[in-house]
């Protein structure tokens, strides 16, 4: 297959284009599975979802069914949910707490550390049969960064910390918002888009569609008393290396429950939020405090984790199922020590924008599906991503950071696995 003509990246001529075949070709998806999803650190869950020994959640990650467990020895492990005996799922519930997982087929029992601890009629097996050979299989690696759990299906790539590189500072900016740490609010939004997975990376990490595609959200905000001029924002777009990218802008659209009041919030919250702003400034200095509380920010950890620190913190991950179909999962992240009224406000704020019923996400879903449908018109071979290509200091409304994503995608796709 010819991979060299998927991108035109020509700064001199001011051209950056992506061939639409990148969104439609099943062979490309197969390569993406092997060279990207099986060769990257992939976000799987948050530590707070499995706080106690024995807690587990089941997650579909890169086409695998995983059980993410906090084992009795307090280590977080990611098991493939398939019995080493003949393949049955050893865990059917979506979440819970278990000391052991017992396979429903022939009754093999596994400790939550993965060890095979019970084999009915083991005497019938030959002497060569060793229980130790049949532990629950783990992903090649499973590591945490400040509570975010990532797995890796290829033991040969760099450690998680090295992999995250420039994205770490941005995760820190998020995590430092609360001394007590962050936790995932219970509940989730699980939905899908009939479009190629990369379209969601582009869509979420690009802000100039907002006034057009999200006219409905802007209209809703205006009706709730947000001044139109407050919806005009200034910001940056940044390439963090290894495909990770960030963009941010101020003032935060729709407010920020951590410390930026908006007319969408109750009036009595205003003073409270100003106090939090002051506290952050005392602790981190005015500059970092302003970045934390008075700016919205989206970060993408390559290839498929996006954290949106906007009117609420949305953790979003998604996987391709087919070239034209992806499954999306999102969660709401919040400071652990948040008071109950701010928590309620945060959840409300999350639902107003994100998710299958929000005032924004459904319109993105609709439009991305129409983009994907549009690629049937094969005569139009290229999509343009040249916005801001000539600028020294591209903004959030440019596409410099998106080009960072695409270049890494292209690099990984076109390298051979064993080089």
């Amino acid at each position: 297959m010819r991979l060299e003509n998927l991108i035109i990246d020509d700064e001199e001529r001011g051209v950056f284009r992506v061939r639409r075949r990148a969104f439609t070709d099943p062979e490309i998806l197969q390569l993406e599975r092997e060279r990207i999803f099986e060769a990257s650190w992939i976000y799987t869950g948050h530590e707070s979802e499995i706080p106690s020994a024995g807690d587990y959640v089941c997650r579909r990650v890169a086409g695998r069914s995983l059980i993410l467990v906090r084992s009795s020895d307090n280590v977080v492990r990611a098991f493939l949910n398939s019995c080493p005996h003949r393949g049955a799922a050893v865990c059917a519930a979506g979440s819970g707490n278990a000391k052991n997982f017992t396979c429903p087929y022939h009754g093999w029992g596994f400790a939550n550390t993965g060890q095979l601890v019970a084999v009915p009629s083991q005497d019938d097996y030959p002497r060569s049969f060793q229980r130790a050979d049949f532990s629950l299989r783990q992903t090649a690696r499973c590591q945490l960064y400040r509570g975010f759990i990532f797995v890796n299906l290829d033991a040969t790539i760099t450690s998680l910390e090295q992999y995250l590189g420039g994205a770490k500072e941005y995760l820190d900016l998020l995590c430092d918002q609360s001394e007590a740490g962050l936790e995932m609010v219970s509940g989730h939004h699980l939905y899908s888009i009939r479009a190629n997975w990369k379209l969601l990376a582009e869509n979420t990490m690009e802000s100039y569609h907002t006034p057009v595609a999200h006219k409905r959200y802007m209209g809703y905000m205006a009706d709730r008393g947000v001044a139109r001029k407050a919806m005009k924002r200034k910001g940056f777009g940044e390439i963090l290396g290894q495909g990770h990218i960030a963009m941010g802008s101020a003032p935060p659209l729709g407010g920020k429950p951590i410390a930026y009041w908006s007319p969408l919030f109750p009036a009595q919250k205003k003073a409270e939020m100003q106090a939090v702003q002051q506290r952050l400034a005392d602790k981190f200095g005015p500059e970092k405090a302003a970045r934390m509380s008075q700016m919205s920010r989206n970060i993408l950890v390559f290839p498929n984790l996006i954290i949106l620190d906007l009117m609420a913190i949305c953790v979003r991950t998604w996987f391709p199922v087919a070239p034209d179909y992806m499954e999306v999962s999102t969660w709401c992240l919040a400071p652990r020590d948040e008071d109950s009224t701010t928590r309620a406000l945060r959840i409300d704020s999350f639902m107003s924008f994100f998710g299958p019923t929000g005032f924004a996400t459904p319109d993105d879903v609709e439009i991305l599906e129409s983009c994907q449908h549009g690629y049937r018109n094969k005569e139009i071979e290229w999509s343009d991503l040249s916005k801001g290509l000539h600028k020294d200091k591209p903004t959030n409304a440019d596409e410099a950071h998106l080009r960072g994503f695409w270049r890494q995608w292209h690099r990984l796709l076109t390298r051979s696995r064993d080089s």
């Binding site: 939905y191 595609a213 969660w331 459904p362 879903v365």
Partner: protein, 179 residues
């Protein structure tokens, strides 16, 4: 006296048939996109919510729901849906609501708790979706739990909880209509 007969004693004037008529009328307003008229069926303290299955007992103050609208949010939702900038509903989809198994669960003073099963079909109308004839009919299945309040002007909806039987909105991808 059983609970049921107590209910009959207090609410003898509201029959299940009356409740059914009310729900059918509501469904017709929604199917016909007469959403401003639909708003008139709601009481000012309305909660319209879609919890995530398995979490119906918790509150949207502490748990992420798919949706939890108060009157103000709902008026905003309707205004946007009736406008031209809700791309997911522009042009508006056709919908068809089937309601059955209506049960008046209890009635205390002027309030009735009513449950019903539903299937809501949605057929999008964007030209690019309909042109190739592929069947993109979506169906949402679940149960309604209403709190109805009877007053001078008839029944009003004080709570409208929609419990879907799936917790993944796939392959629908979105819930862009009032369920």
């Amino acid at each position: 006296m059983t609970e049921i007969s107590a209910m009959v004693a207090t609410r003898h004037d509201i029959t299940r048939t009356m409740v059914e008529d009310f729900l059918y009328q509501e469904a017709a307003l929604l199917d016909e996109w007469r959403l401003e008229e639909w708003l008139l069926l709601l009481s000012e303290d309305i909660i319209y919510e879609i919890p995530i299955i398995g979490m119906e007992q918790s509150s949207s103050d502490q748990t992420l729901f798919l949706l939890a609208d108060d009157a103000q949010r709902l008026r905003g939702r309707v205004k946007q849906l009736m406008g031209t900038a809700t791309w997911a509903e522009s042009p508006r989809s056709r919908t068809r609501r089937m309601i059955s198994n209506v049960r008046v669960r209890d009635a205390v003073r002027d309030e009735l708790n009513v449950s019903a099963n539903f299937a809501v079909y949605r057929i999008p109308q964007q030209s690019w979706r309909t042109e190739d004839g592929s069947n993109q009919t979506e169906c949402f299945v679940g149960a309604y739990h209403y709190k109805l309040r009877s007053g001078e002007t008839g029944l009003r909806i004080a709570r409208r909880t929609v419990v879907l039987d799936v917790d993944v909105i796939r392959p629908h991808g979105k819930i862009s209509i009032i369920l």
